[in-house]
């Protein structure tokens, strides 16, 4: 299935420029709080792109992705604490555990369609959160702390925020490359076929469960790596910080807000969402606990009503309607609709 030249030179240049900008940006910022803010954006973007693989391309909306995030965080942390395993290997282990979990949970859950699948993912994430909270082995609600005596690249513990910035930027780049490769590969076509016309895909010989499981596994692996990163950065995890429902919603919302099923939509969504979140935090202070949920809810409503194809869809609509914006042929924008 050829699809024109492998890389569109203009797009490639744009991506490289964006990357170069992202690489230089932290050097211009000395305030650690500002830098931390950028790290939060990159984290949200990375998870949104990962979510998009199953939620966007394959159209299987998961509202329980915190479970993979938490698995990543807990696996790398536990392996580090009990076996002294390097977090770099712990990342991969966390991803592997998340894949196994995705396969075990996806097998029954993918028998459900649309909204029922989304509901099942919420239930699974809630159950895991409760189990971990009550697990003595995982220190329950007390949480796990990383030892403070080790630092440096081998332990992936740094005093400055700067290394974290480059690590998460690297992880985001890897995640985007994986999504890009899927988008262009045969598997990407199967995902879109399953999303648009599941029965027709099945009638042509595509096993729906198999490809949905592939989508979920890849997404889970990458999300778990995000979780491991979070654990290394914060050096403390508990069920409330890595398994909470709000994380699941945030991951999905980043992608939905930016543009479901588009490569860089989730990155844009992350920039918008995290910015709003940070400003609301300074605005309402600690009195506003729960404001983030109110904001999420408001954004979901706004996106659903005004632009089901996300901000990216809105932008391309605008460009089409502006004079001189190019009379590009209207493409079927189905790609970007939220379709649980």
């Amino acid at each position: 299935m050829s699809n024109g030249p492998l890389v569109n030179p203009r797009k490639a240049m744009g991506a490289l420029a964006l990357l170069a900008g992202a690489a230089v940006l932290p050097l211009l910022i000395s305030d650690p709080a500002r830098l931390n803010f950028l790290v939060l954006i990159l984290m949200a973007a990375q998870m949104g792109v990962a979510w998009n693989i199953v939620g966007g391309y394959a159209g299987q909306v998961s509202l329980g992705h915190a479970v993979f995030f938490g698995i990543g965080a807990y696996t790398s942390t536990m392996l580090g604490l009990s076996l002294g395993l390097s977090p770099w290997l712990g990342w991969l282990a966390g991803g592997a555990v998340a894949v196994l979990f995705a396969l075990a949970v996806g097998w029954p859950c993918f028998r459900l369609k649309g909204h029922y699948f989304a509901m099942a993912t919420i239930a699974v994430a809630e159950i895991v959160q409760i189990l971990v909270t009550n697990s003595d082995f995982l220190e329950g609600a007390v949480g796990l702390s990383l030892p403070l005596d080790r630092s440096g690249p081998a332990a992936m513990v740094f005093l400055s925020k700067l290394p974290y910035y480059y690590i998460i930027l690297g992880l985001l780049v890897v995640t985007v490359l994986v999504a890009w490769a899927i988008e262009r590969s045969h598997i990407g076509y199967y995902f879109r076929a399953i999303k648009d016309e599941p029965e027709a895909a099945r009638a042509l010989g595509v096993s729906l469960t198999r490809y949905k499981l592939i989508a979920l596994s890849v997404s889970a692996f990458l999300t778990a790596m995000g979780g491991s990163f979070y654990a290394q950065k914060e050096m403390f995890i508990d069920p409330g910080s890595v398994l909470a429902t709000s994380i699941s919603i945030k991951i999905a919302l980043v992608a939905i807000l930016g543009g479901v099923g588009t490569l860089l939509g989730p990155v844009l969504g992350a920039v918008i969402l995290i910015t709003i979140e940070e400003y609301s935090r300074t605005l309402f202070g600690s009195t506003g606990s729960g404001t983030d949920m109110i904001i999420y809810a408001a954004m979901i409503i706004l996106v659903a009503v005004f632009s089901p194809s996300g901000v990216l869809g809105l932008l391309s609509d605008l460009r089409r309607h502006l004079p001189g914006g190019g009379a590009k042929p209207k493409k079927a924008t189905k790609s970007a609709e939220i379709r649980p």
Binding site: N3, E197, A203
Partner: protein, 234 residues
């Protein structure tokens, strides 16, 4: 080729077919005709494995299909071109065709069928890089049929191929069905356009309220008074 014995199947828990038996020999064109909501489509969907059986048995080339899931039936040589075409609108014409070849590994035959599709319907070749959703109804039907052929089927099942197709193109569609048979492919056809269907069919079955009520050669059924009265308005 295909042997369907006393199958029953439900659509959303409502029994849609109560007792359907039919058999198709290699190289035949067989039509299932009848009014709307009498179980024609459900019959095809049951054969394709998209609807579960409540009773009865289906065998293809002597092999019982009970334990074969829908997506594996394609490998056994059976493919359904569903009602309303069900193309992948955001994929290009060529990508749609290549998805049809999902179940085959024979690259040479795949290329040959692709070329056949483009030769038979030049418009598909011209628009191979265009999104399938932008084609006209008739073009979409041609694409859907070609997509089905890409799996190298022995048995091609067509559900309402004239649906949503401009009258001018309907003739073209039925001509194509004829030429597909000449490629050695057996055809099972469901149509509301009873006249056209029975004209090209070697044999036909009339289904009413989920049961086969009549069968015979296409010509005999076309000449049958009951059929003429009920479906042809004569």
């Amino acid at each position: 080729m295909l042997d369907v014995r006393n199958i029953q199947s439900s659509y959303r828990r409502v029994p849609a077919i109560r007792d359907v038996s039919l058999n198709i020999k290699k190289g035949e064109i067989v039509a299932i005709v009848g009014g709307n909501g009498n179980g024609k489509s459900t019959t095809l969907r049951a054969i394709a494995g998209l609807n579960a059986l409540d009773g009865g048995a289906i065998s293809l080339k002597g092999r019982d299909l009970a334990s074969v899931p829908a997506h594996d039936r394609v490998k056994h040589g059976l493919v359904l071109v569903p009602e309303g075409r069900r193309l992948f609108p955001r994929l290009t014409v060529e990508q749609n065709l290549m998805l049809g070849a999902f179940a085959t590994s024979d690259a040479h035959k795949r290329q040959e069928t692709l070329q056949y599709s483009y030769d038979t319907f030049t418009v598909l070749g011209e628009r191979r890089r265009q999104q399938a959703g932008t084609l006209s109804g008739g073009e979409q039907q041609m694409l859907a049929m070609c997509r089905g052929l890409m799996s190298q089927p022995d048995l091609l099942m067509l559900d309402e191929p004239s649906w949503g197709v401009a009258p001018k193109l309907v003739t073209r569609i039925f001509e194509t069905i004829h030429t597909i048979r000449e490629r050695g492919i057996t055809i099972l056809l469901v149509e509301q356009n009873v006249h056209r269907a029975l004209e090209i069919a070697d044999r036909g079955y009339v289904i009413q309220t989920g049961r086969v009520v009549m069968e015979g050669s296409g010509k005999d059924l076309l000449g049958n008074d009951e059929v003429r009265q009920a479906y042809l308005g004569m």
